[in-house]
């Protein structure tokens, strides 16, 4: 899929495009900082960390809007849990150390309730990805996890046998969707061409087909200040 997308982008931008993926968010940020990447699709809270070093290129449109949520999921056999505060003494899976939905939100919610995650849960561990978090809960490795709604919904389409082993306890408020950002070192032409290509993907059949495989509606112009609530939340927890 990524190779199809990269060749699509290469054709429309008029230069070769190579996708690079990393397990950990910090790796991606490091590569951006060291000019090893020209553009990246990063989660919202990492974006906050590098907001001053990158330019916002585009924001994916999901279900008609550039927004997503966090789902609190538990194992499907757990019918009782209604809130994260009922998960005392359980094993909890975090996504990444700088994930918004997968790390920031649960700690934020516990902090709001006056709980410390280190003592509230019996054990926590990182899965280094929302998809892995869903798997961890589905397999029973973790009792609960907070995951990206976009990831859970996409998995529901391609791997319902996994998501069916989980149950969504609650859905969070909406947050701005993880954006696509460009390194400040790339030329304005490349920046604009990339942006224009992404915006126009929904206008041609090949682009629409890729978007449908990405489970997105398209890309839109984003504003850095839209992400301010995320930064506020990070400050509240002490991550920034």
């Amino acid at each position: 899929m990524l190779s199809d997308w990269s060749s699509y982008l290469a054709t429309h931008i008029g230069r070769p495009v190579e996708f690079v993926s990393r397990d950990r968010y910090t790796d991606t940020l490091d590569m951006l900082a060291h000019d090893q990447l020209e553009a990246a699709w990063v989660s919202d809270s990492p974006y906050i960390l590098i907001r001053n070093q990158v330019r916002l290129v585009a924001v994916p449109v999901y279900h008609g809007r550039p927004l997503y949520r966090a789902y609190l999921i538990v194992q499907a056999r757990d019918k009782a849990t209604r809130s994260i505060l009922q998960l005392r003494g359980t094993v909890f899976a975090y996504a990444d150390t700088i994930s918004h939905t997968g790390y920031l939100i649960p700690r934020y919610e516990l902090a709001q309730a006056g709980e410390k995650p280190s003592t509230f849960f019996r054990k926590t561990f990182f899965t280094w990805g929302h998809r892995n978090s869903v798997e961890a809960v589905a397999q029973g490795l973790a009792d609960a996890s907070y995951v990206d709604s976009y990831v859970w919904d996409s998995m529901q389409k391609i791997a319902p046998n996994v998501t069916n082993q989980t149950r969504i306890v609650s859905r969070s408020d909406e947050f701005p969707f993880p954006p696509i950002v460009a390194n400040r070192s790339i030329s304005s032409e490349d920046y604009l061409r990339l942006q224009k290509t992404l915006f126009r993907m929904s206008d041609d059949p090949a682009g629409r087909q890729l978007l449908s495989r990405l489970n997105l509606d398209g890309f839109t112009q984003g504003r850095p200040e839209n992400y301010d609530p995320v930064e506020k939340m990070m400050r509240a927890v002490g991550d920034k």
């Binding site: 094993v91 019996r122 054990k123 561990f125 280094w128 961890a136 397999q139 029973g140 490795l141």
Partner: protein, 483 residues
């Protein structure tokens, strides 16, 4: 009847079959035991290799409390089981130093941080062993009693730092099914070998036993009758059994010769006794007969005998003469001095008998091989030959064949006469040379008696036997014999 008394026909093949079965059983059992041990060793090796490679990956993950990567690492070998794998890994657990679950491939059954002992009786048994101090830093194979699983415990160690234990859970069934498969293969091969060997053994046993059985039966008959010889084709090998066959047949041959000899002896003794008796009676008759004939002669010389008396005297005289002839015939006197026998004597006889030969339209095959004179009395040999030839002509069928051979072989004269007439049985042949033979038709039955007496007085012998559907009379007389 004890099984030891069983016939060789059954005993040999049965013994063979028992030995073959025992051998096959012993060989396959030992190979199965060996295969079992090797399989077990292979399985342990398999598990050890897997455990060690997992440990090397899991160690840093434990060090960094990377539960998810550890889970991915151990879940993989459990999910991807190759069908031929000896070690069917059912589950993998990684325990921390307190024997609590750090991560397991089946978190539902073995949740994180749960106590090993709380996971079930097998695990409680393992926990008890694990808590014993000083277990070696190598893979241990543990089989809890009554369990369906085999556990391979490997310490998660690097550079003397031990973080916990990796537990590999393997199902016994994979091992057992593999072993069963091997056992079946070996049974199949054994079956094929038996299917070849057993019929062969049966055939061989029968082949060995059948001649023995027949030999035993024949030997059992000896004493009552003389059994037949054994067919040498039945057993052609030159081993002890083959030699036994030869010896048996040789013994039978000797027995037959002996019995034939006895029969001949009895016959010649009987004939000798008869000869003595006849001679005695003849002498006793001859004396008064001579007197009576002299008296008749004297009486005839007297005059004045009326014709009726003369006829009576003549009647008595003829009667007495006939008695004299008969007695003379009985009392064979071969004391006649004679010239030597020559070729022409035999030819004379051919001429003499030509009339009856023509009369019966016989084919007379005459083979006279005498050349020079031989030192035997011509008149006696002629008499022998005439008697035999006339007998043969008489016995031969109408238009039949009579064969005569005479030759001088070495130091004896050999004479043989065949006819294709009635074939006599042993009983008849036995009494053939007795006087007044009932077999004589139209004669007084003294011809062969006389011949026999002459031959014996010449020191030879005469015999009658069946040969190729003909009756053969053969005579042997040593040269130079006189009475």
């Amino acid at each position: 009847m004890s099984p030891l008394d069983l016939s060789f026909r059954f005993k040999l093949p049965l013994w063979g079959a028992v030995l073959i079965l025992l051998t096959a059983l012993a060989v396959s059992t030992s190979s199965l035991i060996q295969a079992y041990d090797e399989l077990k060793e292979d399985q342990a090796m398999d598990a050890e290799v897997l455990s060690n490679s997992l440990v090397s990956i899991v160690f840093p993950l434990m060090l960094h409390d990377n539960v998810w990567r550890a889970f991915e690492t151990i879940a993989n070998p459990v999910r991807n089981i190759r069908p031929g794998n000896l070690t069917k890994v059912e589950a993998i657990l990684v325990l921390d130093q307190k024997s609590k679950v750090f991560v397991s491939s089946h978190p539902q059954a073995a949740p994180l941080l749960s106590d090993l002992a709380s996971l079930g009786p097998d695990y409680a048994w393992l926990a008890e062993r694990l808590n014993r101090p000083g277990h070696p830093p190598v893979t241990q194979v543990l089989e809890p009693p009554g369990s369906h699983y085999i556990y391979f415990l490997t310490p998660v160690t690097r550079n003397d730092a031990t973080l916990g234990t990796l537990v590999l859970v393997s199902n016994r069934s994979a091992f057992l099914s593999r072993f069963t498969e091997m056992a079946w293969h070996s049974a199949l091969i054994g079956g094929v070998v038996l299917a070849i060997l057993l019929p062969f053994n049966w055939y061989w046993g029968q082949r060995m036993a059948r001649p023995l059985v027949q030999l035993t039966q024949r030997m059992g008959q000896i004493g009552k009758t003389l059994p037949e010889s054994l067919d040498p084709r039945m057993y052609q090998a030159r081993d002890e059994l083959g030699r036994l066959f030869d010896t048996y047949n040789k013994m039978l041959e000797e027995l037959r010769e002996k019995s034939e000899l006895e029969r001949q002896m009895v016959q010649s003794e009987r004939l000798a006794a008869l000869g003595q008796l006849a001679a005695g009676v003849a002498h006793e008759i001859n004396n008064p007969l001579g007197g009576m004939l002299t008296a008749i002669d004297t009486l005839k010389c007297h005059v004045g005998i009326d014709p009726r008396m003369a006829r009576t005297i003549a009647l008595i005289e003829r009667g007495l003469l006939q008695i004299k002839d008969t007695v003379a015939a009985l009392l064979v006197e071969a004391s006649l001095k004679s010239r030597n026998l020559g070729h022409h004597d035999i030819e004379d006889i051919r001429t003499l008998v030509s009339a009856p030969v023509h009369k019966k339209a016989l084919c007379l095959d005459w083979d006279n091989r005498l050349k020079d004179e031989i030192p035997l009395p011509a008149s006696l040999i002629r008499q022998i030959l005439i008697n035999l030839i006339l007998n043969a002509i008489h016995a031969a069928a109408q238009s039949g064949i009579v064969t005569m051979e005479i030759a001088c072989v070495g130091e004896e004269l050999r004479l043989a006469v065949w006819n294709d007439g009635k074939i006599l049985n042993d009983e008849e042949i036995g009494h053939l040379f007795e006087p007044f033979s009932p077999l004589s038709e139209g004669g007084h039955g003294l011809g062969l008696w006389v011949t026999y007496q002459i031959v014996h007085q010449l020191g030879g012998n005469i015999s009658a036997k069946r040969a190729d559907g003909q009756m053969l009379f053969s005579v042997r007389i040593p040269l130079g014999a006189t009475t």
